[in-house]
Symmetry: C2
Subunit: 314 residues, 2 copies
């Protein structure tokens, strides 16, 4: 039944999906943050400050941190990277974090993940002062998020919600599938997407949410995706989402970022979605690169400004 | 297609669902807790202690607290109710909690909800020392739960997971629908049901979870329920789940408890499920009363013992 309906729709689908341009939206948001920071400084406050700690030599992590620092400086955040080599001990890192926690001139702290295996990431995340934890990974921030309380929300999850809002994708009572249950991405996305929009956080999206993950059988993933008005995929599995899994007109938010090598030996970044085919079926879709990625950086800037404003009220 | 399959099955369904007897299982668990407490005391530890604070005269709340205190005493917990009338101020309650937090002889504290409107429930839940919060409502406990860390889990949610385990209902990769998104019941149930069973909490059930709620349209609720291997309903809406919404052989966990008055004027407790009809279709079902209710009390006893043991290691 469903595949019949689907084929019919494909036959009449002459218009490609609306492209949800995350790069352009990220610029818009960074411009807004910049104006707000200018006003903040004009009102006599110091520029917001951010410290990004990076341990080891993972090239992707160094690229991410460089992008964050650059974006921060563009919007007027006083940002610095603090680099350590991979043999930094957990105790040394804890003591560095402790100094930054106590330093009244520092508003935001970010520890780039992954950390070397010798360091317990969860312990590190919980060592940050919750109000300086601009990644929103601290237990207290997670607890507040899951209780729909105002808090610092992990930037990627916040990026997804912000894109749905700014692009005016209706979520209320709609069917959403979130694929991936990671605690930093999938889980907080599912949390906001199903929650009550009237609660204090103001981030609830009131949709019916299905959480799929590695143990969801392939036929069941297809079943849920075909029924979804919105699919948010955060797995890192290229081409997981194919055109015949997508309901015509559905919105596709692709959180995956994987570096692949093509036949000619060139590398490129791809998402979880078979973009070239899905774009012919979906109603709206985020590209990779240029979708959720730049929005994540923009939301980190918002989180840092929020941390600075919150800190100053204490 | 699906309703055809369903009618066929009804025609051949001569066996009624297995009744998941929560009352009997609760007794079993309380017996286990009692033995563990006896050993605990024999090893030179004081009996675990529990204080239940109740504010105001809500008769249902008084019944719940009475049942909890009685169960606690049966298993060897030294338990007392602390009663206040409805005009107790929030500040007075905070100061009472503060004393109990500081009292080394008290292991578990429970504040019966709902509180009078003049008192901010969230503030009260967060005022408890997290390690004495046997209801698991404190932000820190919620954060730990949502990160799959060992913690104190809200007793009703824990009761659902414990019933699925002890009755050997397979959840791995199965389709589960959780109806209701309350922060004390539906949310933690959905969290454990979808989470990774290999994580530290040991409570992850690895099922594919759909979270339905008041804004899920009726036809969509039916769609998801008919596809589910397991339905957990926590809404307080009698007869929300009807036989034609249930896949033959599915497991039905009914968390609802509503007092209704029948034609003759008698009151009785009913769940969310149209039990007399659903029992003919389901593979397994919890009755109301005698299902999740008594199991919630038993899990609260486990939580109190856990709090006592945890406190003593500090």
């Amino acid at each position: 039944m469903r595949s019949h309906t689907y084929n019919e729709s494909l036959g009449t689908a002459r218009i490609m999906a609306r492209i949800l341009d995350g790069k352009a939206l990220a610029k818009e948001i960074k411009d807004e943050v910049k104006i707000e920071i200018n006003n903040w400084i004009r009102n006599g406050n110091p520029a917001p400050t951010l410290r990004c700690i990076i341990v080891g030599e993972d090239p992707a992590s160094h690229t991410y941190v460089r992008n964050k620092i650059q974006a921060a400086r563009e919007v007027g955040i006083e940002a610095e990277t603090i680099r350590y080599d991979a043999n930094l001990t957990e105790e040394a890192l804890m003591s560095i974090i402790d100094s930054l926690n106590k330093d009244k001139n520092i508003n935001g702290i970010l520890v780039q993940l992954p950390l070397p295996n010798s360091i317990d990431e969860r312990r590190v995340c919980n060592a940050l002062a919750p109000e300086k934890d601009v990644d929103g990974f601290h237990i207290t921030n997670v607890g507040q998020l899951c209780l729909d309380m105002p808090t610092i929300v992990p930037a990627t999850a916040l990026a997804v919600v912000e894109m749905l809002r700014r692009f005016k994708i209706d979520t209320f009572g709609r069917n959403t599938v979130v694929i991936g249950r990671s605690k930093n991405v999938g889980m907080p996305i599912a949390m906001m997407l199903h929650s009550d929009g009237r609660h204090d956080s103001g981030l609830g999206m009131d949709s019916t949410v299905t959480i799929c993950h590695r143990h969801t059988p392939a036929d069941q993933l297809e079943f849920y995706c075909r029924h979804a008005d919105i699919i948010v995929s955060a797995t890192g599995l290229p081409k997981l989402i194919k055109a015949d899994m997508v309901k015509p007109g559905a919105t596709i938010i692709d959180v995956g970022i994987t570096r692949v090598t093509d036949e000619s030996g060139k590398t490129k970044l791809v998402g979880d979605v078979d973009y070239d085919e899905v774009v012919k079926v979906a109603g709206a879709i985020t590209p990779v690169p240029g979708g959720v990625g730049p929005m994540t950086v923009a939301m980190l800037m918002k989180n840092t400004l929020q941390a600075a404003q919150h800190n100053s009220f204490k």
